[in-house]
């Protein structure tokens, strides 16, 4: 016992001395604290600072909380009770944006890092790791003929996939502008949603493929030959944005997946869905390849309506004829969801009139709030139970 204490003391002294710049250090308090009523208490030690604000993506008070300083130099703020969800937040300390130093967990969204937390007793529980069998998450590269380079995919295979010869249906799940193949698996919590809904018997076990939808990029920031010189950017500022190549090249992703994984390689066992720019991609890819997908999901989608600036390439022409063909080829579900305050709401409703004009049957679900991950995760909970049912 005594030796053990000496050993620990050695370790601690080592980590506070030799490696003091980088070592392990625990804050003398916990932050955030999820309270019993789902309010959240944030704490930050900043004895020399004049103003500290917490900013997050919850709706109450527009996600802004003014923290108050205690005599111990620790600032505190308690939010109103929050709906169960995953949230991201940061502090502004005398105008400097910082993560919560007491919170070890963060996600990147486009070019910013955020501290993250889960408020439970509702949807947040579906986004949590629970005691259920866990699927595998792979970062895998495929050779693209279209782009003449390797490109990176995130692939989820369900827990049961590991053994046996059972074949699985596939959901292709596409990110929005500024996103990449890491977006759905981090902020989208896809692996947790799939694990939990499969364990509850609410969805068919399926493979989920999350490609990178930026035409000029091989992979997410930090995962390309630019390494950390990569400046994350909204997709519309990247080269070759919306040039039609992504729509043209998508079948090579499907081919790669059908070759490498145990898939049910047929239209009735394939879905494509995406958020924002990924919603546009889901619309355009399924319309340009009417033989590929029986299921389509548009979450807060961009649409051809409102994109009159699209280049004059075959992929972006004759939309009505393509929708007609898509309908004729057979569609089991064309599912659209949008928040009432989404900035794309108006164009989406014009787009749905075009769907009406060609009698493309679709299901429309309207939610509160706007263009936010909270909605996209909720849409996943609603959309995936509808897939691949007889």
């Amino acid at each position: 016992m005594k030796k053990s204490i000496v050993f620990l003391a050695l370790f601690i002294s080592f980590f506070t001395q030799a490696q003091q710049n980088v070592g392990f250090r625990q804050a003398p308090f916990i932050s955030p604290i999820i309270n019993e009523d789902n309010s959240v208490t944030f704490k930050l030690k900043a004895p020399y600072s004049k103003e500290v604000v917490v900013r997050g993506d919850w709706e109450a008070n527009n996600g802004v909380g003014k923290m108050e300083k205690g005599t111990d130099g620790i600032w505190t703020y308690t939010s109103p009770a929050l709906p169960s969800d995953l949230y991201m937040y940061s502090f502004l300390v005398d105008s400097v944006r910082t993560l919560d130093p007491a919170n070890a967990f963060s996600y990147r969204d486009v070019g910013n890092l955020f501290s993250i937390m889960i408020v439970g007793k509702g949807n947040g529980d579906k986004y949590s790791v629970n005691e259920v069998p866990h699927g595998t998450v792979e970062k895998v590269w495929y050779q693209s003929k279209e782009y003449k380079t390797e490109r990176r995919l995130t692939v989820y295979t369900p827990a049961s996939y590991k053994s046996g010869t059972t074949k699985y249906p596939v959901l292709y799940l596409l990110h929005g502008s500024g996103g990449d193949e890491e977006a759905w698996i981090t902020l989208g919590r896809t692996a947790q949603i799939m694990d939990n809904l499969i364990a509850e018997g609410k969805i068919e076990p399926m493979i989920v493929v999350m490609p990178n939808g930026n035409e000029s990029k091989q992979a997410a920031p930090g995962e390309t030959k630019e390494n950390y010189a990569y400046r994350p950017s909204m997709s519309q500022f990247l080269p070759n944005f919306a040039d039609g190549s992504y729509e043209r090249a998508f079948p090579e992703i499907v081919n790669f997946i059908d070759t490498r994984y145990k898939t049910k390689a047929q239209k009735s066992q394939r879905a494509v869905a995406g958020l924002s720019m990924g919603g546009f991609h889901s619309l355009s890819i399924s319309a340009n390849h009417p033989d590929l997908f029986d299921y389509v999901g548009l979450f807060s989608p961009g649409t051809p309506v409102g994109r009159a600036n699209l280049p004059n390439v075959p992929e972006f022409q004759n939309w009505e004829a393509k929708f007609l063909k898509q309908k004729e080829q057979g569609l089991k579900l064309y599912w659209i969801a949008c928040g009432k305050t989404d900035f794309l709401y108006e164009n989406l409703h014009k787009q749905m009139k075009i769907f009406d004009s060609v009698k493309l049957p679709y299901t429309y679900v309207e939610s509160t709030r706007g263009h936010i991950w909270s909605n996209w995760r909720t849409y996943m909970l609603q959309f995936t139970p509808l897939l691949f049912k007889k």
Copy 2:
């Protein structure tokens, strides 16, 4: 073109208004800047702050740099020229620890997040993503009989693994105290090192398996049912630390890998190596299972010497007899590396005297500096080319 600008304006206005708390925002400058001479310039806008310091894991000035404030409220510091490497750093702004808000890239080490950067023209190039074929990285769960639960592994398979029936040798790569199955793939840059050394023909293409070495944990912080209530901790403060169960249970990991992957399932095609606590594990697992590994690597290892407090279980008894048996069973390489200023240096040298006494043949490599990732990545560059050669 005009419509395009309107569309972009809509997007930008959206992301600065509706989602202002969480949206995309780029700093008006770049930080860090890797200069031509490998010095690094850091910048932080903090107009209302009194003192800003950058702290990193480079050797010059003990990794501390006092930043200077410009009239524009932007603080700047330029380091001396740094050896090519991956570095982690943070800022202290009026005593508040913050990441670099202009840098989108970070890794977690134990319980802290760090901004990261790569200084090139040397080892740092081996830790970079280059234009070479990329292997696959998987997060996969196996069922443990010993722990009666699922546990998570990180598995790297080389680019050539994707197709064909070729079988591969396997390196089991173990993390240190406070680490988990994410440590080697993040700060260890294992995927990049493997991709690059394989492309250069310097190492045999191999599978690398990175398990979680904490007896009481299923997976890394945030990836267990504790979710974000997980308080990251040094391993010696966790339940069941060093109770012998990890040594006893290790063959079930080997069995899982040999069942699930295309492995050369034989002793001559297996290596085990690890850093610090993972070095102890490599020593103890290979000694307790002398039929499993022809290659052993101890990087800045913990050792039975200096651990007189180990519990009285068979796994930690009769070391000399086990080393003798291990030698008799045949060993192709027993490789040990340590930095001159490592706090484990003295005990390691006592341990090597015990190896000498039983004539266990080993190779010893001594480096500068101490118990740091810079050394462990370098040891990987030195150790892996020695594996699985005829």
